[in-house]
């Protein structure tokens, strides 16, 4: 397999040719780059190129079927004067911040509960992780039925319990629809936090707790001064990962609310899809998608540097 282009061995004399070729290919730098090239070329062609092509598209007035006209920053200007765009920006931030805080708190609680000795722990862990592994669209279908306007089991329970006479329309009311997508996102993402943080907790040596207990630290102090500092790197990485993918979430919202009612739950990604794909305005759609970039870029750069440093 480790056969490169023969031209690499150009200067070799006929007699020592095969030896020289092999020698050259075995050189650390040459061999490494031969290995890397297919994958790197693929990523350049299908990640880097689309990324820059997206920037190019966002500077065009471009309908799907027509060729583009360069319009400079006018797509972005239009967006900045569009109330809907600002609503979507607000939606995305609310969605990301609230869901992240809930997942962080819930995930930490789950990890602490799981970080005890009990029978069937591995089985419990496997079950708790299910929301994260089942394809999102398929589990969201279950949530659509749970939140159905007429046959919602949540409403049935609320009515039976005497909390209210008739249940609300979870996906039909602007605020409740936002609550709903946040709940479903939290449900799906919480196990990721829980199980990852659990793995972090398991790296803590038990004698650290014993030492702290001997020094008279109570449970809360032990958590603050022993547990938290040790799992901090894991906590930071998990949270930043999750923030990036929550901020750019598409699937769940597309299936559950389609951005409705009246744009109340549209996020950058779902709005970009509506404009670019359903509306056929490639240029404007690319501009909407790129609006995610400034906050995301900050996060991505921070996380990349952090990962490299670790």
């Amino acid at each position: 397999m480790a056969v490169g282009p023969a031209s690499l061995a150009r200067p070799a004399p006929a007699a020592g040719r095969s030896f020289t070729l092999r020698d050259l290919l075995e050189r650390e730098g040459v061999w490494s780059w031969l290995m890397l090239t297919p994958g790197v070329l693929f990523l350049l062609a299908f990640v880097a190129y689309p990324f820059f092509y997206g920037i190019f598209l966002s500077l065009q007035e471009r309908r799907v079927t027509q060729s583009g006209v360069f319009v400079g920053l006018s797509n972005f200007e239009t967006l900045l004067h569009d109330a809907v765009f600002w609503q979507i920006t607000r939606n995305t931030f609310v969605y990301t911040i609230v869901a992240t805080l809930l997942k962080l708190a819930g995930g930490l609680a789950m990890a602490l509960v799981m970080h005890q000795h009990f029978r069937g722990k591995n089985l419990a862990r496997a079950f708790l992780l299910l929301p994260f592994i089942v394809p999102t669209i398929l589990s969201t279908v279950a949530w659509m039925w749970i939140l159905d306007p007429t046959f919602s089991v949540v409403n049935w329970t609320l009515v039976k319990a005497g909390v209210m006479k008739a249940g609300p329309s979870w996906l039909g009311n602007a605020s409740l629809a936002m609550v709903s997508i946040i709940v479903v996102n939290t449900w799906r993402g919480l196990p990721f936090y829980g199980i990852t943080l659990l793995a972090g907790l398991q790296t803590i040596a038990p004698d650290l707790y014993e030492a702290a207990a001997i020094d008279g630290a109570n449970a809360r102090q032990r958590f603050r001064h022993v547990t938290l500092p040790i799992i901090k790197p894991v906590l930071i990485i998990v949270t930043m990962f999750s923030v990036i993918f929550t901020f750019s979430d598409f699937q769940l919202v597309y299936a559950l609310t389609h951005g409705g009612p009246a744009n109340a739950t549209h996020l950058f990604a779902t709005f970009a899809f509506d404009v670019g794909m359903s509306g056929g305005q490639f240029g404007m759609g690319a501009a909407v998608a790129l609006s995610m970039l400034p906050p995301l870029a900050l996060l991505i750069v921070a996380l990349t540097l952090y990962l490299r440093r670790e």
Partner: protein, 282 residues
């Protein structure tokens, strides 16, 4: 172990109660999926009947799903695409991760940062230009379109995960093989990779579930019924206009989760290792 307190009362409070809460909260939607899929329509659409249990179970929705829709084709497509893109991504991911983890060469740092960055660039940033590119390549409405685009999500992930495993194999083992006359390639394939089987399994299983979960590219590129994947097929063909075929939708959701669930149940430890490797080990 962390909190104080003794006896069964304290233990229920800090273990059994919260554990039960988490289990119910995480699993209820799956329970709901399962019982909805075996309820007859007269139970589904009658708000007066207690909905938490099934009174007269039926397999009608499953029969309808398998006979009246292209569900089996969607399943085949989903598995085919997931297997192909996982295999491609494992090979290319290994070829990227191995030199980055074990070799010194000019440009290594740039490539490593590039791979990390491509791993973190979310798909919604790329899908519109990608749609245009796929159109120009005349791959629209073919499974090749998704087989080509899924590895863009999976390769950076595999490479990143595998780097950690490759770093953990001592250099001496490889050097010994090289002294015995093995080429770099042979040392990799015969010495280092076999030692990294758990890592390769983790990366493969994780990539497989990611591929099964993918929706955005499939939604954009697959608009004919015969080439759709399960998530796209379910959401576009079992919901027609305002009509939701709830029973069939739930049956599809449940059956569509089965391949992932089976693989997951066999390799749950590798999956968890893959999940945590990126954040804990590195």
């Amino acid at each position: 172990m962390i909190a104080g307190g003794r006896g069964i009362g304290a233990r229920s409070l800090r273990l059994y109660l919260p554990l039960a809460f988490f289990l119910v909260a995480m699993l209820f939607p799956f329970y709901w999926m399962a019982i909805t899929s075996i309820k007859p329509n007269r139970e589904l659409y009658n708000a007066r009947i207690m909905p938490l249990v099934v009174h007269q179970p039926t397999l009608k929705h499953y029969v309808d799903l398998l006979t009246q829709t292209s569900f089996l084709t969607w399943t085949y497509n989903t598995l085919l695409v997931a297997v192909v893109s996982t295999a491609v991504s494992l090979v290319l991911g290994t070829m990227i991760a191995y030199p980055l983890a074990r070799m010194n060469f000019p440009g290594a740092a740039v490539v490593a940062i590039g791979v990390a960055a491509t791993y973190l660039v979310p798909q919604p940033l790329l899908f519109i230009p990608m749609a245009d590119i796929i159109n120009r390549l005349e791959l629209g409405n073919t499974l090749s379109a998704v087989m080509l685009t899924y590895p863009t999500l999976l390769i950076p992930f595999c490479a990143w995960l595998l780097m950690g495993y490759f770093k953990s194999v001592p250099r001496e083992l490889e050097e010994a093989a090289r002294i015995d006359g093995a080429s770099r390639w042979q040392a990799m394939v015969r010495v280092v990779l076999p030692l990294c089987t758990p890592g390769l399994l983790s990366a493969g299983i994780f990539a497989f579930t990611l591929a099964q979960n993918e929706f955005l590219y499939a939604l954009i590129f697959l608009t004919r019924s015969e080439i759709r994947t399960v998530p796209v097929g379910a959401i576009t063909e079992l919901i027609r206009g305002d009509v939701f075929y709830w029973g069939q939708l739930m049956a599809a959701a449940l059956l569509g989760s089965v391949p992932v669930a089976i693989i997951y149940s066999f390799f749950v430890d590798y999956y968890v290792a893959g999940l945590t490797a990126g954040s804990v080990k590195n």
